[in-house]
Point group: C2
Chain length 142, copies 2
């Protein structure tokens, strides 16, 4: 499969970077049969096209005591509730991700807190905007 806007080589470079973004351009080049500089140029192009949005790290919240990880579906009954809710979620540091969704519910979000009390406190706040359904992470499989 050759994706939109990029060729197979770009796609392989992208996959390598997703796995390990510290790979040197030279090492990537050895994989895809290019010089490091050519790889650099392709990466720069993908950044300009905003295919690559930035560089970040994979990290483990559990290791620093962020022990609760919840998937929450939010149900809002009135139109007026949307903006206040969005502001609440955007500004709350426990909300790691937030999406508008189709299907059951209005929003889906990923929430992380240090412990159960903090999650309960979060849910109490959330009740001010609408109803919710919570699923707790009981183990990452993939």
């Amino acid at each position: 499969m050759t994706p939109y806007l990029i060729d197979d080589t770009d796609y392989r470079i992208l996959q390598l970077l997703i796995e390990d973004s510290t790979l040197s351009h030279k090492d990537i080049g050895a994989e895809v049969h290019l010089t490091g500089q050519a790889v650099g140029a392709r990466i720069r192009r993908m950044r300009e096209l905003e295919i690559i949005e930035g560089y970040t790290i994979r990290w483990n919240p559990l290791r620093i005591g962020q022990n609760m990880h919840a998937f929450i579906t939010v149900f809002l009954s009135t139109n007026a509730a949307h903006l206040p809710f969005q502001n609440f979620a955007k500004n709350h540091k426990s909300v790691a991700e937030l999406y508008r969704i189709s299907g059951e519910g209005c929003y889906w979000m990923r929430v992380r807190t240090v412990n159960q009390e903090a999650l309960t406190a979060f849910l109490d706040e959330l009740l001010g905007y609408g109803n919710y359904r919570v699923n707790l992470d009981m183990g990452k499989i993939k």
Copy 2:
């Protein structure tokens, strides 16, 4: 809040790296009042503690035609279905994330496909293991 195992300086370094892992140790040091080498040592320590698991990129699947993004809750009725399902999900490239969950449902997963047909095909396969509830991403807010 000072998290488990690491001090405030480590935490600030971690946050900076999450935002942009290409920041030089020197620049991070300027933020947290350390030399680049001291920052490097702290980062190395966090890697050894597996707080930092690796370096990766933030990228936009939409830009290369990965147009469908779905949050799927899976319901399995029999014990025997779990292992086959896990193998299916682990090996399927459309499954971006997979968690065991508490609450309604047995598993939660994030699925990305190029288009609606591919998602439908995926769901047809999924039916071989159990039932599901699908929510489509209609817009990322955070």
